[in-house]
Amino acid sequence: MNTADQYLKAIYLAQRIEEGPASTGTLADLLEVSPASVNEMIGKLEGRDLVEHEKYKGASLTDEGLERAHHALQTYCIIERFLANVLEVEEFRDEARALESVIDDTVAERLDTIIDRPAECPDCFDPELDCCERLEPVDGCAD
């Protein structure tokens, strides 16, 4: 997953957490980067019509941005589910975050052929838990 898609996914999750535009601070926390880096990338995504940015409020996804964010979150869900249910990784969230930049969506689609994913995916992703609310991992998700 490329950096732009990781940002779009983070904006989508931040918008759900904040129930409104995603603030720079929340995005910086989610992405573990500086607020300056966030602002720079938001500018680029705005230039590509994927994000709308309102000063002092934050970033919101456009329809096209939302579609891409959905797709990116699906890819992330596949990685988490694959790690948790196929490789039985206890720290699947940490590992998914570490691996997502190296796993392309075409690769995730192949991994998807051996996992069981709800039809509602990615709407059932819980941004607070950082995993699908219906995922049943080896160690339990809700900690």
Binding site: L83, R97, L99, E100, I103, T106, E109, L111, T113, D116
Partner: protein, 164 residues
């Protein structure tokens, strides 16, 4: 979240190699299932070229899997048993409708594997981390496998073009 494509630890490398092992297992298993899944008359109608392609793909994937597993062993990480992955493929297998579907699935397999190894190589090359296995040997193995996947894409594409 980790921005930027690089492999920074033995653990992360082992996990990525494990994903490679699973991808190869999926290819191996699906290639074997394709022939079995077709109705008897369609199966008999499959020409030697396609039959040979699937047999070679399964054999090549088994070879790639073993080479990746040898690397994972040196990193002291566990791999998932082939039987377990095979059971998952069995449970979730949706057979292609016909020979063209079989070839298309095989093309997806080869393209996906090529993309995976290409990204993995890029992520290893972008990292200055010291791994428990020799970096040159790791990269040589990955270059070899990527090249074979590239040849695989060409081979399937040629067969598809001839049949079109």
């Amino acid at each position: 979240m980790s921005l930027g494509q690089r492999v920074s630890s033995d653990h992360q490398l082992a996990r990525l190699l494990q994903i490679g092992v699973v991808l190869e297992e999926v290819v191996e298993s699906r290639a074997a299932h394709h022939l079995e899944s077709l109705p008897a008359d369609e199966r008999e109608a499959i020409d030697d070229e396609v039959r040979e392609l699937l047999a070679e793909a399964a054999e090549e994937s088994a070879d790639h899997r073993e080479r990746l597993e040898a690397l994972v062993d040196e990193l002291d990480a566990e791999t998932v048993a082939y039987e377990e992955i095979n059971a998952l493929v069995d449970a979730r297998y949706g057979p292609p409708e016909d020979t063209d579907g079989v070839l298309y699935d095989q093309l997806c397999n080869e393209e996906t594997a090529y993309k995976f190894y290409d990204d993995l190589i890029g992520a290893v090359e972008a990292s200055d981390a010291e791994f428990a296995i020799d970096r040159d040997r790791l990269l040589e193995t990955l270059y070899d496998i990527r090249e074979e996947e590239r040849e695989g894409v060409e081979e399937v594409t040629e067969i598809m073009e001839r049949r079109a």
